[in-house]
Symmetry: C2
Subunit: 395 residues, 2 copies
C-alpha cells in the first residue's frame, strides 16, 4: 500500500459511542417504536434473496393487506420513508399531461400537488381551510369540472389533525372514471381504514406512526385499476427506484433482483405488523380512540382549545391552539429538554398557531396521556403572560 | 365504534416472533453488520428535528467526507438504499436532452444507463467485456466523440469484481467539460478512494458493504461543479424524494422539514462511520487487501480460477469461475442451508459462470476466509462430476 497518496484527516472526527436519550415522542412522528420491533432491528441481516427472507416478505405483504383491509396483490413496503411511497403512487400512474386533481386541506395535500407536477401532470387543486374536510358535493363538483385521471387526497392530515370522511368518494371516482389515491400516513394501524370497501386505488403510509416501527419504510398499495393504468403506459416509469413494474419482479414470484432490500427495517416491520394482527384492528382502533378522548377531555379541562372539530378529529394527531401570548416553541423546547417529551409545532398555515400531539401505535396509552396532561397543567402556566396566569382553567 | 363495517380477517395471519438465523454473509451484499452498529439500530428513536439528532447528522456528514476523502459540502446519506443514491446523482443533474456517457463493464453500468434514460438524457455507452476495465485512451476517445455533459462509471463493479483505475479520468472530464459521476458502492470504506484528488463530481455508495451497517441508506456526495449544474437547471428536479435542493434545506443550516428521516438507520450509520474513523482508512484498506489476498491464494491452491486479473481485482468482491460440470447454484444453496454461509451467484453476463465472494467491512477477517476455504475444500468435491473428483487440487 506504499504507493497510495496521503490521507486527509481534516474530517476524521474521534467520537464516543452513540448516546441518544430515551425520549417520549408525542409529536407528529416519529413515534416511539415497540420494544419488540427495536429488538428485531438489531438481528443479524440475512440476504435479500435468502429463502427465509423471501418468506418474511410474504408475511409483511399479507399483514399489510390486513392492516389496510385490502386484497391488493401489489402491496409492499417501499424502501424509503412514507414520502417515497407517496411519490411511488404518483410516479407509477401519471403519464405526462394527465390531469391530477388534488384536494388540499393541509401541508401534505400541497406536497402531493408539488410531486404530481414533477411527473408532468396537469395539476388542479381544490382547497379547504386547514382544519376542515371536503364534502361529497364539493368533490363531485370538482370531478365533474376537472375530469381528472387521478383524484389525490389525504385521509389523515398530519398538519391539521383532520380526518377526511371517505364514504362515497370511491363511488364518485368510478362514476367519473378516475383513480382514487389516498394518503394514510397518520391513519394506518390506528384509525378505521377500509381501502377496498372505500374503493381506493392507490394508497401509501409510513412505518413510524400507527405501526410502531422506526421511520424508514413506506407501505404502498395499488389496486387493479391502478395496475391497469401502469400496464398501459407507453413509456418507462420516470423513477427507477420506485418503479412498481420492476419491484413486482422482486416481490412477485420471479424474485428478480432490483435493489438490495433494507432487510433489518423489514425485520422490524414484520414484527410491528405481527403485533398489530395479534391485537386485532378493532382493538387497536378502539384503543387509539379511547386514549385520544382522554387527551381531549384533559386538554379542554385545562382551558385549552382544540383546533379540529370533534367529528373530524383524528385520534392519532391532536392540534391544540397555542394560547394567546404563549411562546409555543419555548414551551415545547422546555418539555423536550427538561422532561424528555417531544410535542410538535405547527406546519405551514398553522406554524406558530398550534401544537401537534401524537398518540400513535405503541405510544397510544393512558399513562402517556396522563403524563403529558400533568405537564401541561404544571408547566404551561409559567409560559403564559402574567395577565393570564390566574385562573389557568377559567377560559 | 359500533357503526364500523366488519373487519375482513382473510389476511390476518397469526405468526410467532421473528426467528431469522445468524448467517455469515460472504456474498455481494448485504454483508454482516458490526455488532455495535446493530445495537445502535435498536435505540429508542428521537425526532428528526431534535437538536441531538441534528448534531448526529453533522457527525455523519463529516465522517462520510473522511471516508470518501472529499470536502464536498453536500455529502449526506440518502434515505434509501444505494440504488436510491445512484438515482439521486442522475436525477439532480440531468436536464432533458443532456448527453450522458456511461462506461459499461458490468451490470451496474447498465443500470446507470437505464436510469439516465428515464431522466430524458440522451444516453451513449462504451462497453468493455465483463471482467475488464477501461483505459484512459478509450475514455478520452469517447469523451472527444460524444462530448457528454456527464461521464458515469463504476469504480468497483459488484457484478464482475473489477476495480476501475481512476487516475487521470477526472482531468479528462475537466478537459472535455463534463461531470464525473462514480459508483463507489463496493469500494467505500474498503478500497482506496480519493474523490477530491480524482476530481470526482458526483458519487454514491451503500451502507451494507464496506461500512458494516445493514442496507437502507445510500451515501451521496456532490461537488461544486455538480452543484452549479443543479443550481442552473430551469425546471424542478423531476424526483421530489431525492431532490438535493430540498434536502439541502434540511441538512443545511435551515433545518427545513423535508421527509421524516430514517433516524434508527442513521444511528447505525453514525456508529459504522465512527468505527471506520477509529480504525483509520489506511488500516481498513490494508485489512481488506490482506484478507482478499489470503482468499485468492487459498482458492488458487484449491485449483479454482479467479475471473478478474489480479491488478484489477477488487479486495471486496472476488469472482470465482464455477468449475466445468459443477452446478453452482446447488453448491451455494448447500453452503447456505447446511453451513449458514451465503455466497453469491453471477449476475447478468456472468450468471451461472461465477460465484461472487464478498469480504467487506466487518466480514473482512482471516477467520471468515479460512472458514470458507475449508468448506470449498471439503464440500465442493461432492458437487464435481465424477470424472473430476480425483485429484481436486491438480488443475
Amino acid at each position: 500500500m506504499s504507493a497510495l497518496p496521503p490521507i486527509n484527516d481534516a474530517h476524521r472526527r474521534q467520537l464516543g459511542p452513540i448516546a441518544t436519550p430515551d425520549r417520549l415522542l408525542l409529536g407528529p412522528g416519529p413515534s416511539n417504536a415497540h420494544p419488540t420491533v427495536l429488538q428485531a432491528l438489531a438481528r443479524t441481516p440475512i440476504g435479500h434473496l435468502d429463502p427465509l427472507y423471501v418468506e418474511l416478505m410474504g408475511e409483511v405483504q399479507e399483514l399489510l393487506r390486513y392492516a389496510w383491509q385490502t386484497d391488493n396483490r401489489l402491496t409492499i413496503p417501499m424502501s424509503g420513508t412514507g414520502s417515497a411511497a407517496m411519490e411511488a403512487t404518483l410516479a407509477n400512474t401519471i403519464e405526462p399531461g394527465d390531469k391530477v386533481l388534488v384536494a388540499v386541506k393541509g401541508y401534505f395535500g400541497l406536497r402531493l400537488a408539488d410531486m404530481a407536477g414533477r411527473y408532468r401532470a396537469e395539476v388542479a387543486t381544490i382547497e379547504r381551510p386547514w382544519g376542515e374536510a371536503f364534502s361529497l358535493e364539493e368533490i363531485e363538483a370538482a370531478l365533474a369540472h376537472h375530469r381528472p385521471a387521478i383524484l389525490a387526497m389525504v385521509h389523515a392530515e398530519t398538519s391539521t389533525g383532520i380526518r377526511q370522511p371517505m364514504e362515497g368518494i370511491g363511488d364518485l371516482c368510478r362514476k367519473y372514471d378516475c383513480l382514487l389515491l389516498l394518503d394514510t400516513v397518520t391513519s394506518l394501524g390506528a384509525v378505521p381504514l377500509y381501502l377496498d370497501a372505500w374503493k381506493v386505488d392507490l394508497a401509501y403510509s409510513c412505518s413510524q406512526k400507527g405501526l410502531s416501527c422506526p421511520p424508514g419504510l413506506g407501505p404502498f398499495t395499488m389496486g387493479p385499476r391502478a395496475e391497469a393504468k401502469l400496464a398501459s403506459r407507453s413509456d418507462k416509469v420516470p423513477n427507477w427506484y420506485l418503479d412498481v413494474s420492476l419491484l413486482n419482479q422482486y416481490w412477485g414470484s420471479d424474485r428478480v433482483y432490483h435493489h438490495t432490500a433494507p432487510v433489518n427495517m423489514n425485520f422490524g416491520m414484520r414484527e410491528a405488523l405481527r403485533l398489530l394482527a395479534e391485537e386485532g384492528l378493532e382493538a387497536v382502533w378502539d384503543r387509539h380512540r379511547q386514549n385520544a378522548e382522554r387527551l381531549w377531555r384533559g386538554l379542554e379541562s385545562l382551558g385549552l382549545e382544540l383546533h379540529a372539530p370533534e367529528h373530524l378529529r383524528l385520534p392519532t394527531l391532536t392540534t391544540v391552539r397555542i394560547p394567546e401570548g404563549v411562546d409555543g416553541k419555548a414551551f415545547t423546547l422546555h418539555l423536550l429538554n427538561k422532561h424528555g417529551i417531544e410535542v410538535g409545532g405547527g406546519l405551514g398555515a398553522l406554524a406558530g398557531k398550534v401544537w401537534r400531539i401524537g398518540l400513535m401505535g405503541y405510544n397510544s396509552r393512558a399513562e402517556n396521556v396522563d403524563r403529558l396532561l400533568n405537564l401541561f397543567e404544571t408547566e404551561l402556566p409559567a409560559f403564559r403572560p402574567a395577565s393570564q396566569k390566574q385562573p389557568v382553567a377559567a377560559a
